[in-house]
């Protein structure tokens, strides 16, 4: 709980208002929060069923289940629309929240009385902003001087009219009160001098306006849809001073600096793709094209791509888009948070192979010593038997062996070494298939380095099959190094580390009776084989 409490201190919550002089502000606070993340809306979007969520939240949510999180009505990502009004309400509220909270905390009575009014006013202002956005403007004012037949279209939200206002200049619609609603002439007002002009000209004009230059309307042929030219704008449409006033009040220039608004087209929404139509390679290429990591199995590639789409498209909805670099960082964070723990569900968060190794060093040493003892015992028995056998078999056979040996140029020892060192060079094999099957497939196997016994034991595994207490058959090299139990653990499953061996060699090795002595593997190596044979593997991978 301690850790939790530490974290809590930094999290604002609607309950903060419960102890204030205006506890009802908690309702407002809660109303500006996303149902999914319980935090203030970030790039809010509205669903077809009229519920608002953070863009990223609802996108992730729809990825899991294509339903609205509030009412479970069917919903699709492509139908989400930005909710600029809510964004502004949140921005405005967040800007005053701390001050407001301090003001209504109710300690200094004298001061509070004055500030509380402001607080209430601010709260009302919030409501007003939302209200204004919801109420359609009186059409009598809007449609002045426009062809009458167009009106019907407009009521349904004419695309030409609607889009530019809501997308290109999101701060505009709610920042005026009802009385001051601008004429719907397809033009936008300069935020500084309030002159109306085409949107494309605004950003250019703002620089001039700030520099104090007068606005020169461009000469263009009069169009039918907008008979009035900007220069002939009637002065009665809106007193220039009022909107500027309200704007400066609700839109701190630091929040929405018009000049820093990103050029549209820089961030275009990315389309979804059907993963079943993509092969691994194609998907990898796709990811590379997008500039994100392209490693890992297909499932991870898919998840990563989906998350990237969510991040990217949510960023498109944001009034203050972040850079691609920031998004990449976020994707990286997602990867850390979602992919790693999911793969290591059985491991405690502070698990460390080294610590485990250290902690149980004695037990391991014990086991090793025991195993060593048993192999020595066994070898002794073998040696005795061999001796007897050899004596019985007589000189003839011995001579045959001698002959065979001299007729085959490569001595067995180096051969054994070369054949078996191949897998050893390929890196460490996890000690048993048991350990590896516990590792989810999405994690690169190279990471599951053998945790308990390090050093020579890694590759000594490969001698396992040769070490059987056999007399008559040392399996052919090819067979000996196939390592059936490790095939699943092989990090390079498609690559055959052992090219087919020379049939002559096979014949040579398999046909020769077991000869103890220098031709066998060095004792140092042999002991591990048995150790590994005898220790049922109990690595940390299995731990609960």
């Amino acid at each position: 709980m301690n850790r939790l409490n530490d974290l809590d201190a930094t999290l604002p919550d609607p309950a903060d208002w419960a102890t204030s002089r205006i506890p009802d502000l908690a309702v407002l606070d809660a109303a500006l929060r996303c149902e999914i993340c319980k935090d203030f809306y970030t790039a809010p979007v509205i669903t077809n069923c009229g519920h608002t969520f953070c863009s990223l939240c609802i996108r992730r949510c729809l990825g899991a289940d294509e339903k609205c999180a509030t009412c479970r009505a069917p919903e699709q990502e492509s139908r989400l629309r930005k909710n600029g009004a809510v964004q502004q309400a949140v921005d405005a509220f967040m800007a005053v929240r701390a001050t407001l909270l301090e003001a209504v905390s109710g300690i200094e009575e004298a001061e509070v009385s004055g500030q509380a009014v402001n607080a209430e006013e601010a709260a009302e202002v919030e409501d007003e902003i939302e209200e204004v956005a919801d109420i359609p403007p009186p059409s009598s004012q809007r449609r002045r001087g426009r062809p009458r037949k167009k009106k019907a279209d407009d009521e349904d939200g004419d695309e030409d009219e609607y889009r530019p206002r809501s997308q290109e200049t999101p701060p505009e619609p709610p920042k005026r009160s009802l009385r001051e609603r601008p004429p719907d002439d397809g033009l936008v007002a300069c935020p500084i001098c309030n002159r109306r002009m085409k949107e494309a000209q605004v950003s250019l004009h703002i620089d001039d306006c700030l520099a104090g230059k007068p606005y020169i309307p461009p000469r263009e042929p009069p169009s039918l849809s907008s008979p009035r030219k900007p220069s002939t704008l009637p002065s009665s449409s809106a007193p220039p001073s009022r909107p500027t006033l309200t704007q400066s009040r609700f839109q701190p220039s630091s929040t929405f600096p018009p000049s820093t608004a990103p050029p549209t087209g820089l961030f275009q929404p990315l389309p979804k793709i059907t993963y079943s139509l993509f092969t691994d390679t194609k998907l990898r290429t796709k990811l590379r094209e997008l500039g994100i990591r392209s490693d890992g199995p297909k499932k991870l590639l898919q998840d990563r791509h989906t998350e990237w789409l969510n991040l990217w498209n949510a960023n498109v909805d944001s009034p203050r888009p972040r850079t691609k670099r920031q998004l990449l960082d976020e994707l990286e964070a997602w990867e850390r948070a979602h992919v790693r723990p999911a793969n290591n569900k059985t491991k405690a968060p502070e698990w460390s192979d080294e610590k485990w190794q250290e902690k149980h060093a004695d037990t391991f040493a014990d086991l090793i010593a025991k195993a060593r003892g048993s192999i020595q015992k066994r070898r002794k028995v073998e040696a005795d038997e061999d001796e007897v056998e050899e004596r019985i078999s007589g000189e003839v056979e011995g001579a045959q062996i001698e002959q065979l040996r001299s007729s085959q140029p490569p001595p067995p020892n180096p051969q054994l070494r070369t054949a078996n060192s191949a897998p050893a060079e390929m890196g460490s094999f996890p000690p048993s298939s048991q350990t590896t099957t516990l590792l989810p497939s999405s994690q690169p196997l190279q990471q599951s380095s053998q945790p308990l016994i390090q050093g020579p034991s890694h590759h000594l595994m490969t001698y396992q099959n040769i070490s059987r207490p056999h007399h008559e058959t040392i399996p052919p090299h090819g067979a000996a190094s196939l390592l059936p139990s490790h095939s699943s653990a092989n990090p390079y499953p498609t690559r055959n580390p052992h090219p087919p061996t020379n049939p002559q060699e096979n014949q040579y090795v398999s046909s020769i009776p077991y000869v103890p002595g220098p031709d066998r593997l060095p004792a140092e190596k042999r002991k591990y084989e048995t150790i590994l044979d005898e220790i049922p593997w109990a690595g940390p991978g299995r731990a609960g």
């Binding site: 999290l11 319980k38 339903k67």
Partner: protein
Amino acid sequence: MANLPKRIIKETQRLTEEPVPGINAVPHEDNLRYFDVSIHGPSQSPYEGGIFRLELFLPEDYPMCPPKIRFLTKIYHPNIDRLGRICLDVLKSNWSPALQIRTILLSIQALLGAPNPDDPLANDVAQKWKEDEKTAIETARQWTRTHAMS
């Protein structure tokens, strides 16, 4: 646990600060996604007076997927099986990220108050419940006394 989502922290905070009457949920010190829950049997139900222990786990994808929750105390209920698993739509198909621990626990408490033998998980219990409700309720009361009141 450094990457515990804000939402989980918030929910835990709310649960501890403003507990729902009759419901108690405390996260484990070493795993803040794992909660020990106890629910008081609702009044005027055969479970009245009993305190039922449950375990609740918030999976990695929470809140995109529902919390995993299970009764630890034995209970005689048509929608809860021998292993303590619960048949509740909001824990499965009707889960929504807008729901939270608090609402889920309330739903479970409500389920105790209103067993639904028509959509059973424990078939034998449901059968009894339908055939002879009186006896079934008596059994539930008996079980509550035996298992949930110690």
